[in-house]
Symmetry: C2
Subunit: 226 residues, 2 copies
DNA sequence: GCCTGTGAACAGTTTCACAGCG
DNA sequence: CGCTGTGAAACTGTTCACAGGC
């Protein structure tokens, strides 16, 4: 299959994981991998991995496996990593600073072209080599850099207002870490991430496990990101 | 349906979101809500919300809606929030500090009974009112507090070793924020959260949207947590 | 009349088994 | 003979429509 008939979202999330694993293998000087090995390193089922990769068209050699460098580049291309994505990050508290300083973004095609915080104490600080700017500069920076992605790591109370400003400034995709449900105009895609929900799911599964002693703990990871 | 025939995991994740919204409504002095209103505040489909709640047994009154305080307590009980969960958090960088200082955990039945970091510079600091301890104390604290949940917010290189130590010390559920796939012995449940995957999915959807102009941006949030 | 609760259709995702090529 | 690629089956989760109480 080509990339036309649309790749399932669940597959896209896993492709991002494969990309990370493959990058590690390339750095380790590895030439080829089998689906079984790659699946094990990514924590998924081998057959499922092959089905995921089938959405990119044939990219392995039968009896051998996949060439790691080629496969990595192919996935990177499909995920749109060949062109860097300009992002702005609003709210430089601990979480915002963690996101800004996380090396994983830069190496995967994301660049934070603007860090913003409402607190004068934060403005001017350097985070990951970039200065924190005042909120007043938000619209100008979005316009001048053409940033299409906005990340919100503010307190819940101001997240909706920040979302409105990002959308008005032309940002089309928003990732929200504040624990509120945001509404955005049509044409703007909002994704919600609440760090406490995973913990609650974990606690629920733990409780359920105690209640039903015969139940095995399922297995490995199940969460969305990786 | 009672809670016996098992509640779907997707439903559990959404119940956590409803719980947050309901807590806000209770604080606002609200008496009852309809499924439509609650669904809108949680960013989900009203029919889906009713189906989710049906797993707890009938808990609304027809023609009226749900009593917010009662429903909140019911969900809290099902999610196991009536008894506090003791957690240990390993890796007090920016992300770890953000998690430790996030008020949302404490009010939802989670208590960090131990914060750990390998860096001597971090040890002794107070985060969210609790001191950062040296890694050497990990096993003792897990044993003495009976912590059943461990959160890993360390660099990727040491995450597996931390996982091993947590599992050996008796932790049964692990939430991993490090970008590596962890393996744990049977009986230990590991959930993986990678902050960069959501960003990559967002970028992919954005790219796909440009490629197929007729496609609407879906709608609201889709991600797991909230 | 309004809103809940739910069975039934639907869509998406995972698993399986195996055909096909190197 | 090993490993990829893929259709078919099984499963899970979501959406819809409406029956049923208040």
């Amino acid at each position: 299959m080509q990339s036309r008939p649309r790749i399932p979202e669940a597959t896209v999330a896993r492709l991002a994981v494969y990309l990370r694993v493959l990058s590690g293998l390339v750095d380790g000087g590895r030439g080829t991998v089998s689906s079984g090995e790659l699946a094990s390193a990514a924590g998924v089922n081998p057959a499922g991995l092959r089905k995921d990769l089938s959405h990119l068209g044939p990219c392995g050699t039968r009896g051998v496996g996949y060439e790691v460098a080629t496969l990595r580049d192919r996935i990177a291309a499909v995920l749109g990593m060949e062109t860097a994505h300009a992002c702005v990050l609003v709210g430089i508290g601990n979480l915002g600073a963690a996101l800004a300083g996380y090396g994983g973004f830069g190496t995967r095609g994301f660049e934070f072209v603007g860090l913003f915080d409402a607190s004068p104490a934060r403005v001017g600080q350097l985070i990951g080599g970039r200065p924190v700017r005042p909120m007043a500069d938000l619209e100008d920076v979005v316009t001048s850099t053409g940033a299409t992605i906005g990340v919100i790591a503010t307190p819940a109370e101001v997240a909706q207002r920040v979302c409105d400003r990002l959308a008005a400034a032309g940002v089309r995709s928003i990732l929200n870490f504040a624990p509120v449900t945001l509404t955005a105009p049509a044409g703007v895609d909002v994704r919600q991430v609440d760090l406490s929900v995973e913990l609650q799911v974990l606690a629920f599964l733990d409780k359920q496990r105690d209640a039903v002693p015969g139940t095995a703990p399922a297995g490995e990871l199940a969460g969305g990101m990786a």
